[in-house]
């Protein structure tokens, strides 16, 4: 049976990818951020998953305005890296895990989640930057296959935080019922507080971010109880993408432990963070 082995919450800011792609991780601007990643990266490298389920949003690159799904799951054999208007990131193409995708689609539809299937999908920075956060030097190929899970965080009404958390729980259950022996990592991406447009552009709310970083571990219900208006007010019009962390958290068991976290301002116009959790769910240690 498949198993969620860890969950990673991470910002997916394009410039974090660009800093890695252009060898700037030792620059004074970027060094503190990447230094913060180091312990998490070391631990993840020691616990490699077979598949990564990456919860993210597209940014006007693969999903246009014609048809905007609330939740979508990629079901393809492979996913090209999107050209977002400034050339493709020079990273390997993303290899899919279509059997797990299909299993998730069937289980989730049968659990009353009205998901769209993305049978063709170019993946943008929302997915590839988190992959780089996990593995900075993939060489010819990423070290795991991927199931992309897309959440609409751009067009209002976004799904509620509560629905995202429920969606995550259903994903976790579906993963654990997948008959293949697979180690699965779940990525919740985006955030933290930021706002790109309007008079409040440049908004950062460290207090809210640190509270969120704390609560995501053992009180996700408190985060699921916030309205979309709460998220926009506190975390900014784009900070609402933190609801995607709740999908990751929902997919994990109740028995998790924090491996590492890091918080840094700024990455471009964004508060960037990382939080890594070990899933102890079905291991002997749970019987304490």
């Amino acid at each position: 049976m498949a198993n969620v082995i860890w969950g990673l919450a991470t910002s997916h800011v394009p410039s974090i990818g660009a800093a890695m792609d252009n060898g700037k991780t030792e620059d004074p601007y970027w060094k503190p951020l990447f230094d913060g990643y180091a312990p998490a990266r070391k631990w993840m490298a020691e616990h490699p998953p077979d598949v990564a389920v990456i919860v993210y949003n597209d940014h006007a690159n693969a999903i246009g305005m014609d048809l905007v799904p609330t939740f979508a799951i990629g079901t393809a054999d492979s996913y090209d890296v999107a050209d977002e208007g400034w050339g493709r990131r020079q990273v390997p193409p993303v290899v899919g895990a279509p059997q797990l995708s299909e299993h998730l689609v069937r289980e989730l539809v049968d659990s009353s989640f009205d998901i769209a299937t993305a049978n063709r999908l170019d993946v943008d920075h929302g997915l590839t930057v988190p992959l780089s956060v996990y593995c900075s030097e993939p060489g010819e190929a990423w070290p795991c296959t991927v199931v992309p899970v897309l959440v609409n965080v751009i067009q209002s009404p976004q799904p509620t935080a509560a629905r995202c958390y429920e969606f995550g729980k259903a994903i976790g259950q579906a993963i654990r019922s997948f008959p293949q022996d697979s180690k699965v990592a779940v990525f919740g991406t985006g955030g933290m507080s930021h706002q790109l447009a309007g008079a409040r552009a440049g908004l950062i709310n460290e207090q809210f971010d640190r509270w969120f970083l704390k609560k995501i571990e053992n009180d996700p219900e408190a985060l699921a109880a916030l309205t979309r208006e709460d998220y926009v007010r506190e975390a900014g019009t784009e900070g609402i993408e933190m609801i995607m962390w709740l999908v990751m958290r929902g997919a994990m068991s109740t028995n998790i432990s924090r491996v590492h976290d890091a918080y840094h301002v700024p990455a471009s116009n964004t508060a960037a963070a990382l939080a890594l959790f070990d899933d102890l769910g079905d291991r002997p240690e749970t019987a304490t």
């Binding site: 208007g85 751009i154 790109l196 409040r200 552009a201 440049g202 019009t237 508060a271």
Partner: protein
């Protein structure tokens, strides 16, 4: 320095600094109003479209059916007007990228700061509200 000062005093931006609304929520009505504008901007992820846009911006806007106001906002690079006319920052940023403008530049435009002031505001911990 102005941006820095504002941060230190925790002041909200005032009408004198910017014409932008505090927040732009891309609700379904906004999507409908901004549809042509956003589709046009979104098309610029393809090199051949960027070339055609640059050749004749007005004609390219007409092909996508932009309203006269949207077209004027694009031609004048009035980033705040684009937002007021249904623009989504993820789409209009494709146009900014073509112009080699950064998200920090846009942040400055929306907040009445220079790019340097805006960037410095972020480096100093970001702008606080409420």
């Amino acid at each position: 320095m102005k941006g820095k000062t504002m941060l230190d005093t925790d002041e909200q931006p005032t009408g004198s600094q910017t014409k932008a609304r505090d927040d732009y929520l891309l609700d379904v009505e906004h999507t409908r109003q901004g549809y042509a504008l956003n589709q046009m901007c979104g098309s610029l992820i393809r090199a051949e479209n960027r070339a055609r846009f640059s050749e004749n911006e007005a004609r390219y806007c007409d092909e996508f059916g932009l309203s006269p106001e949207q077209k004027q906002a694009v031609l004048e690079r009035d980033w705040t007007a684009m937002m007021n006319l249904g623009g989504s920052i993820f789409y209009t940023f494709k146009l900014a990228t073509l112009d080699k403008k950064s998200m920090q530049y846009l942040g400055g435009v929306f907040t009445g700061m220079s790019t340097e002031q805006f960037t410095e505001a972020l480096r100093s911990g970001g702008r606080r509200f409420g």
